[in-house]
């Protein structure tokens, strides 16, 4: 099937087993999410809306709240750095490593570090940077890209992973998930001990106390700040919340929305270097706040996307994501959130990603599951509008021109004639219409019998009989 939209082409060529893995994985997480929210809360929707308001309020007053978080962190002995771009952040990390004579870094899962391509940068500069989240570790061994925010290897099956481990010298071929996990455990614990620097992201930062909340199920982020003396937390500026108590709302929603758990296994709160009596953990703590287009987004008609807490619920529910997989979105953030965020994070390269907002049926499910109530369909429409206004060709690839439709609708005589002619559609095969979108549609479906014009007849008769 011919298609002009890159995401459609990707979905068309996706191997069936990957589509199956993505579909099954997404559906399972979606079901668990629903169960966990409805079993726990009388009105889960009210809590989503509350969380959305908390995040929106923080964003609208970000200078004040971010300033307060920074003050607290510095007061607790952390060094705060400011990175305008991804390159700036990478350079700051390298400089910190050099300042402590470090060449080995171990990191926990961080979407921001993916966004700035940290691993590649550090490798180029002679440093080792190891992913410790099991999924991300496998992605790194394969020189692949994560395809989901929460479950990065949802596109891989155990056989592929077993092959990867065998190639990487982590034992003979064995595709038992438990064996795979144990081998990673054993390999990575040496890496934790060897690394001089541990890098983590941050899910939330409390403006009240400077506390960074960080969640993982595997315990890798705990290791990253237990076995070495320098901790770097790399955090987007939008992660701030006003008070510690607000974390209770967001933590209650994050795990339920992401994996259907009541709470992620490990929720860590870090607000400075280790305490004096504690033998393990970082003596130096660096926090890097990253802008990377976020301030531009904040000043735009897309600011609501900055509420996102990266739970992945909108991916799991999205019919387009389920059919096309995360890699179809060609960027770090896939799914509906990625379709909104990726073009914006691309900055001047916006037109390269301007087709992504078309990858939606606008069914609204993404908004309904969003724990911070982001109006995703509305934001997708704003993108389409922006791309149209700016005349970006990629955004309208494969879209039939609406000019004819517009003339037809605004000329009553033509409209009436075409309604009469519409009856002919019952006898003409749609395959004869040389528009790829029509042909693709007709391949799986057929039109119902034409019933147009009946209303006019009914209305006329009614007028007559009056």
């Amino acid at each position: 099937m011919k298609t002009k939209q890159p995401i459609d082409a990707f979905a068309r060529d996706l191997p069936p087993e990957i589509r199956e893995s993505v579909y099954v994985g997404s559906k399972a997480k979606y079901d668990k999410r629903l169960d966990s929210l409805t079993q726990s809360f009388a009105a889960p929707d009210d809590i989503r809306k509350l969380a959305g308001q908390i995040k929106q309020h923080t964003l609208e007053n970000l200078p004040e709240y971010l300033g307060s978080a920074i003050e607290k962190l510095e007061g607790n002995g952390a060094k705060v750095h400011y990175a305008k771009t991804g390159d700036d952040a990478n350079q700051i990390i390298l400089d910190i490593m050099r300042s402590v004579n470090a060449t080995k870094l171990i990191k926990s899962k961080s979407m921001v570090s993916e966004e700035i391509h940290l691993n590649k940068f550090l490798e180029k500069n002679g440093c080792e940077s190891i992913e410790s989240d099991l999924g991300e570790f496998i992605v790194q061994l394969d020189d692949d890209m994560p395809s989901h925010i929460v479950t990065p290897i949802v596109h891989k099956n155990r056989k592929q992973i077993a092959n990867t481990f065998e190639k990487a010298g982590l034992g003979d071929y064995n595709d038992d998930p438990q064996t795979i996990t144990r081998r990673a455990r054993s390999f990575l614990r040496n890496k934790y001990i060897e690394a001089e620097v541990g890098l983590t992201g941050g899910n939330f930062v409390s403006a009240e106390t400077g506390r960074i909340a960080l969640v993982t199920n595997e315990g890798n982020a705990r290791f990253c700040i237990s076995a070495n003396k320098t901790h770097i937390a790399l955090i987007g500026i939008e992660k701030v919340v006003p008070r510690d108590k607000d974390l209770a709302v967001l933590l209650n929603l994050l795990a339920r929305s992401a994996t259907g758990q009541q709470l992620t296994v490990y929720t860590q709160f870090i607000n400075g270097p280790k305490s004096e009596a504690q033998p393990d953990g970082p003596e130096n703590m660096h926090v890097i706040f990253l802008d990377n287009e976020r301030s531009n987004i904040l000043g735009s008609e897309f600011k609501e996307i900055l509420r996102c807490i990266r739970c992945g619920a909108c991916l799991n529910v999205c019919p387009i994501y389920r059919q096309s997989s995360g890699h179809a979105y060609r960027a770090v953030y896939p799914g509906p959130v990625g379709a909104v965020l990726s073009p914006l994070l691309a900055g001047k390269r916006y037109p390269e990603y301007a087709d992504l907002p078309k990858a939606s049926s606008l069914c609204g499910a993404c908004n309904e599951v969003c724990p911070v109530d982001i109006p995703l369909p509305e934001l997708l429409l704003r993108h389409r509008n922006k791309a149209k206004r700016e005349g970006i060709k990629k955004a309208s690839a494969g879209t039939p021109s609406m000019a004819g439709w517009s003339v037809l609708c605004s000329t009553p005589a033509m409209w009436k004639t075409s309604l009469r002619a519409g009856k002919a559609m019952d006898y003409i095969s749609l395959n004869l219409i040389p528009v790829p979108a029509v042909q693709a549609w007709a391949k799986e479906r057929s039109l119902p019998p034409f019933r147009g014009g009946k209303f006019r007849k009914w209305f006329k008769d009614r007028q007559k009989n009056k």
Binding site: I47, Y266, K274
Partner: protein
């Protein structure tokens, strides 16, 4: 980049939002996020029972008193482990009598020699089945993390918070706090649940009466 240069575009962006369109900070309380898992009885024993129920659901194990803990360790056939120095007086003699080798300091180049780690819990949360570990009460971060079995000892004077909200409001000033809700886990490989990825594969909470 300095702080004011960094803040300038953020300030410019929020200044574009008219006051009338700003979202107020919502006021909310415990009732707003009431869960069905919230315990109704706040008596300490009732809270412990509520905690046990939730902890069991996340595949944690609870023990009460020494004999209970010892039989669990025997079941796992442990031979050597780490015990926090402040628990040494209470635990070391009888664990050693049972033939288990006890270390009260942790050598991080030998982390695999410790089959279990016993450290103090700063408290637990009944609503979620969560153990709270704080830097100031956990003798060694690695001792609570790297062994296959972690036993968090809940002393009599440590709080049992009814809800996550209560615990969040009492975090104090500790630089490092961990909420541990069950053993370490992953479902990265085909969505299949595997416990014991980087952290403990067995997470125990042991309620004990202090001897002093």
């Amino acid at each position: 980049m300095n702080k004011s240069e960094f803040f300038k575009p953020i300030e410019d962006a929020v200044n574009l939002i008219p006051d009338s369109k700003r979202t107020p900070l919502p006021d909310w309380d415990l009732e707003t996020i009431r869960t069905t898992q919230m315990p109704s009885d706040t008596d300490r024993d009732a809270l412990w029972d509520a905690f046990k129920t939730r902890f069991d659901l996340v595949h944690g194990k609870c023990t009460e008193g020494r004999a209970d803990l010892l039989s669990l360790l025997k079941e796992e056939s442990v031979t050597a482990g780490y015990v926090a120095p402040e628990l040494k007086a209470d635990l070391k003699p009888w664990l050693q009598q049972s033939g288990i080798e006890i270390h009260t300091s942790l050598d991080d180049s030998q982390i695999d020699t410790y089959e279990f780690g016993i450290t103090r819990a700063a408290g637990v949360i009944a609503e979620t089945g969560t153990i709270i570990l704080k830097d100031q009460s956990t003798s060694s971060r690695l001792g609570a993390l790297s062994p296959w079995i972690h036993i968090a000892v809940l002393p009599d004077d440590a709080p049992i918070y009814p809800t996550l909200f209560d615990a969040m409001n009492d975090l104090g000033n500790d630089p490092y706090i961990v909420f541990a809700t069950g053993p370490s886990k992953t479902a990265d490989v085909e969505g299949i649940l595997i416990e014991g990825v980087h952290g403990p594969g067995i997470q125990i909470c042991s309620r004990m009466k202090s001897r002093h």
